[in-house]
């Protein structure tokens, strides 16, 4: 609490490093093949599980159909992308509001957008700049 600036800097670098490792984990399989790898089409494990069900129980028929299917791959991709966009937007919005409400990113403005600083005009300049 006595050294918030140092803590923030450290965490930011820490976070960037972690994101880089993550990018590596995701990017690696696109570049190299693993020994004994099943396929390289990046099919979903969900469909692989269904294929396994079909071998284990060839007679099994799904007794309910989904009530609605996205018409085609493109629409399915769109809907998944939409879900990610809504979610990521929500995360970003909440993070911003969250910090803002504690006067972290916008130090001159209090929880409800009121100006707290005595030199109120400068607070806004700080926010935009």
């Amino acid at each position: 609490m006595t050294k918030p600036v140092i803590a923030v800097r450290g965490e930011r670098e820490h976070s960037i490093l972690l994101l880089a490792v993550m990018a590596g984990l995701v990017g690696m399989p696109l570049m190299w093949s693993m020994p004994g790898e099943v396929n390289k089409a990046f099919t979903s494990t969900d469909s692989e599980a269904i294929a396994l069900i079909t071998t284990l129980a060839p007679d099994y028929l799904p007794w309910v159909e989904v009530w609605w299917q996205p018409p085609g791959q493109a629409v399915e991709g769109f809907l998944f992308a939409l879900q990610v966009v809504l979610g990521a937007g929500g995360v970003g919005y909440c993070l911003g509001r969250y910090h803002n409400s504690y006067g972290f990113w916008c130090p001159g403005i209090s929880q409800h957008g009121r100006m707290e600083s005595s030199i109120s005009g400068e607070s806004f300049t700080n926010v935009s700049g």
Binding site: M1, P4, A7, V8, E11, R12, H14, S15, L18, L19, V21, M22, L25, V26, M28, P29, L30, M34, E37, V38, N39, K40, A41, F42, T43, S44, T45, D46, E48, A49, I50, L52, I53, L56, A57, Y60, P62, W63, V64, E65, V66, W67, W68, P70, L79, F80, V84, L86, G87, A88, G90, V91, C94, L95, R97, Y98, H99, S101, Y102, F104
Partner: protein, 221 residues
């Protein structure tokens, strides 16, 4: 990892729904209590829900040459505890079942149990055991939670479709082989990303740390 619509026999579907329901009811009570007692938690709650939405929609390529998606339930679990996450996970699963044809209503109970009950409780347990490790405990908890989610899915499928030769155990192994190698790198990625999210949440290093009661070791609301 969501079991597709119709891919659990009716008996199993009913059974898993019965098993999952009390957790969701309990979670709803906890959630309402949380919102009544700490209205300021809404924002964090929404962030955790949105995070689950993102991660459970991201199909990520993995080293096995297949792709799968993480669960995203770890963050909410560590912020609010497993009961609250049971509700939020259920909302995400219903959304995906109805609008994305991903998962299904008959398999909802089984999917809720694996993703919104078993995973979060294991993540919670791992975090409590390893709390002294700090951020590393966060990472381990999320990784364990995601892997357990897929492990439970494998068991659920194996119980419904035992191997003709090697029985349920053989089928568990077969389903784990389908999910496991693909899921391990994704679980590691999710663990890292969740630590990044926690860093972002605690970035101000000031008053808002008080909200993250769990991280401060004050127990949960």
């Amino acid at each position: 990892m969501h079991i597709m619509e119709g891919y659990l026999p009716a008996g199993h579907a009913v059974l898993w729904t019965v098993v999952a329901t009390p957790f969701v009811i309990h979670g709803t009570q906890r959630l309402l209590k949380l919102l009544a007692g700490q209205p300021q938690a809404k924002l964090l709650l929404a962030a955790a829900g949105a995070y689950t939405l993102v991660l459970s929609a991201l199909k990520i390529p993995s080293v096995t040459g297949s792709s799968s998606h993480p669960t995203g339930t770890g963050l909410g679990t560590l912020l609010f505890g497993p009961p609250v996450m049971a509700v939020m996970g259920t909302i995400v699963l219903v959304f995906q079942a109805l609008l994305l044809a991903h998962g299904g209503l008959t398999t909802l109970g089984a999917n809720v149990f694996s993703m919104a009950v078993a995973g979060p409780w294991v993540a919670w347990g791992v975090f409590r055991l390893g709390r002294w490790l700090g951020r590393v405990a966060l990472f381990l908890a999320v990784v364990a939670g995601t892997l357990v989610t897929y492990g439970v899915t494998a068991v659920q499928l194996a119980l419904a479709f035992p191997d003709p030769q090697s029985g349920v155990v053989g089928a568990v192994i077969k389903f784990l082989v389908v999910f496991g190698p693909t899921q391990i790198p994704l679980a590691l990625s999710e663990g890292l990303l969740t630590v990044v999210m926690m860093n972002a949440l605690t970035a101000s290093g000031r008053a808002n740390r008080g909200d993250l009661a769990l991280l401060k070791g004050r127990g949960r609301q």
